[in-house]
């Protein structure tokens, strides 16, 4: 039981890391550019598709990673240049509707080009199998790789934002956009860089998700809405909040999915109904968490401007 618990905690951490990759980009883009971008999930989807197509074409996962990153970055920069740039001075409603239009466009184009059938990618052979991390307990190498890669990226982002000139501008932009512009910083370039960075992170999450999930149209929105929960729980515009929120949401979701069925099965007589009910209740868990956070701290746990 306790070993199973540790395993599920690691699974939760892995989901949390994936959510962080998306939430960091989303929250940076909002914090600095004031843009709510529903198409962020589409960048994740583009990364996943490009990665899995590259992997099945070349047979090499090492090539899938740059392919997914490049596809997401190019797509991200293109939509920044064509659409997002026109939305900086608009209200949130215009931003929501325009990026909703983008989501429809991406979903339908991909199902037109690739088809509605989900793609399946195998775990790369070098990372397949599992290793013994505790006596008597093994864990998937691939999932462990995701956790490590995500934590390295989180550390890298921290260094970038706290220790570099670019990071200083990003922080300044999040605090007072107009002042940064008035001081002569090329804010357009900064916006493009931040959007590109967000797209890269989303694309990386997409590539890494490929072997774990089926790659299909709509995968972007599923994770996007959970990412919204992360951002609300963590506090809008804060990277620290994104990391903390992502881990909490990842853990809560995974642990509920793992252990709720046993509890519900004890209460209901029909096992198949119990399974479906507990799966539904487990999916609702993170939203209940969000409601609790809202009651307690409406601005999230780590608001950006405290």
């Amino acid at each position: 039981m306790s070993l199973l618990f540790v395993e599920q905690v690691l699974n939760g951490l892995q989901l949390g890391v994936m959510l962080f990759l998306l939430a960091a980009g989303l929250t940076l883009i909002f914090g600095i550019m004031g843009i709510i971008n529903l198409a962020h999930g589409s960048l994740y989807m583009v990364g996943a598709y490009a990665g899995s197509i590259a992997a099945s074409a070349t047979g090499s996962f090492l090539l899938a990673v740059p392919a997914g990153l490049a596809a997401a970055a190019v797509t991200g920069l293109a939509i920044e240049y064509i659409v997002i740039r026109k939305l900086y001075d608009r209200d949130h409603l215009d931003q929501v509707l325009a990026t909703y239009g983008l989501v429809l466009l991406f979903n339908e184009s991909i199902s037109l080009i690739v088809g509605r059938q989900p793609l399946f990618v195998g775990v790369p052979p070098a990372l397949s199998g599992s290793i013994e991390i505790l006596p008597g307990m093994t864990f998937s190498v691939y999932r462990l790789t995701i956790i490590v890669a995500g934590l390295v990226i989180a550390a890298g982002l921290y260094a970038l934002i706290q220790r570099t000139r670019l990071g200083m501008l990003i922080r300044a932009g999040a605090t007072n956009r107009d002042m940064v512009r008035a001081l002569g910083v090329d804010i357009k370039l900064l916006y493009t860089l931040v959007f590109g960075l967000g797209a890269l992170l989303a694309g990386f999450a997409g590539v890494m998700a490929g072997p774990l999930l089926s790659v299909q149209v709509g995968m972007g929105e599923q994770i996007l809405i959970m990412t919204f929960v992360v951002v609300v729980v963590g506090g809008v515009g804060s990277i620290r909040g994104a990391l903390f929120g992502a881990i909490v949401v990842g853990l809560v979701d995974t642990l509920l999915r793992a252990f709720l069925p046993q509890l519900v099965r004890g209460m209901l007589s029909d096992p198949s109904e119990a399974d479906q009910l507990s799966a539904g209740l487990a999916s609702m868990g993170v939203y209940v968490l969000m409601a609790i956070v809202l009651l307690w701290r409406p601005q999230g746990l780590f608001p950006a401007r405290s």
Binding site: N107, S272, V288, L294, P298
Partner: protein, 331 residues
């Protein structure tokens, strides 16, 4: 001062013509051999109710709710579940008897959707701006998962309602009869919206949209007004959901899907947010677009995306903005 919610003589005549056209529509359609128009028009009117209710929060109140389909779905499921309990002859939760009476099931749909809106609104309105958008979307997704999980009521596959609710011994199976029932409800709903928009409540709501802080400084409890508007809007969506459950004799979690919330928003924006009849025209535009495009291709949303982008990026103010743009020589 010009009062936008008092109609001029011209506007009244236009509305009278609109209503006359809606009454005549099914007869004309049957006469020219297009009987499928009547169910289509029914669906359009139901969407007009849902979009009109969203317009109350979005257009008048300036609250960007991205989870409105949740209340629409809850309304639909209320009718569906009440009918299901008639069929299996066992009360809901052991004490609420099922019903197939229109005058009980549809008001129940309104009340249940309103209760959900009150609860979700009370939480979501603790924030504003971008968080409000994310939270309404997230709670709608939560209810989506709830109905997916309710295997007893069909789960993923949805719930079939064997026949439409009974109303005064009318033959509700008949599409023409049902159309007129929906038309009467729609007219009543828009009359109510008109009364709300012109009332003190509506004025305060508009003022909150324009400058929330100033309204608060005047000593008005902003939160309560917003929550009341959110709840009324949820009830309107519940009404639409209850009607559509009768119309389609089917409810499914798709009714609560986030793209449905998006579609409702698009209807409001297409018609011009914050105008009384805008959502009606927006619903008309979107349903027509869907019907025409899906005649050509199954992937009609492939066209909706770019159309939406063009409208938002270049023609602000929805269809009326577009007409003004064309009429004004492309200024």
């Amino acid at each position: 001062m010009h009062d936008p919610f008092k109609f001029s003589g011209k506007a009244l005549i236009a509305i009278a013509i609109l209503i006359a056209a809606l009454v005549a529509l099914p007869f004309i359609a049957n006469a020219v051999g297009l009987p499928a128009t009547t169910p289509l028009a029914t669906r359009l009117l139901i969407y007009a109710i849902a979009a009109g209710s969203l317009n109350l929060v979005l257009g008048f109140g300036g609250m960007i709710s991205f989870g409105h389909a949740a209340f629409y779905g809850v309304g639909g499921y209320t009718v569906g579940i009440l009918f299901q309990h008639v069929r299996i002859g066992e009360p809901l939760f052991g004490f609420i008897p099922g019903t197939e009476q229109f005058l009980i099931a549809v008001p129940a749909a309104i009340l249940v959707a309103g209760a959900f809106a009150l609860l979700i609104g009370a939480l979501a309105l603790r924030t504003s701006g971008v968080q409000f958008i994310m939270i309404t979307l997230a709670f709608a997704q939560m209810l989506f998962f709830l109905f997916v999980a309710l295997k007893r009521y069909g789960g993923d596959d949805g719930l079939i309602i064997r026949r439409r609710n009974a109303l005064f011994g009318l033959n509700m199976r008949d599409d023409l009869t049902f159309y007129f029932v929906v038309l009467i409800v729609t007219i009543g709903f828009y009359l109510l919206l008109w009364r709300i928009a012109g009332s003190r409540f509506g004025m305060v709501l508009g003022a909150i949209r324009q400058n929330e802080r100033r309204v608060a400084a005047l000593g008005i409890a902003v939160y309560r007004y917003k929550l009341a508007a959110f709840t009324i809007a949820g009830m309107g969506a519940g009404l639409a959901g209850g009607l559509v459950a009768n119309y389609a004799r089917f409810v499914s979690p798709d009714m609560l899907h986030w793209t449905k919330s998006g579609e409702l928003m698009v209807m409001v924006i297409l018609g011009g947010a914050g105008t009384l009849l805008g959502p009606l025209f927006g619903a008309f535009a979107l349903v027509t677009l869907e019907t025409v495009l899906s005649g050509w291709t199954e992937r009609w949303q492939l066209f909706l995306g770019p159309i939406l982008l063009l409208i938002i990026l270049y023609f602000r103010g929805g269809l009326s903005g577009l007409f003004k743009f064309i009429g004004g020589g492309g200024k």
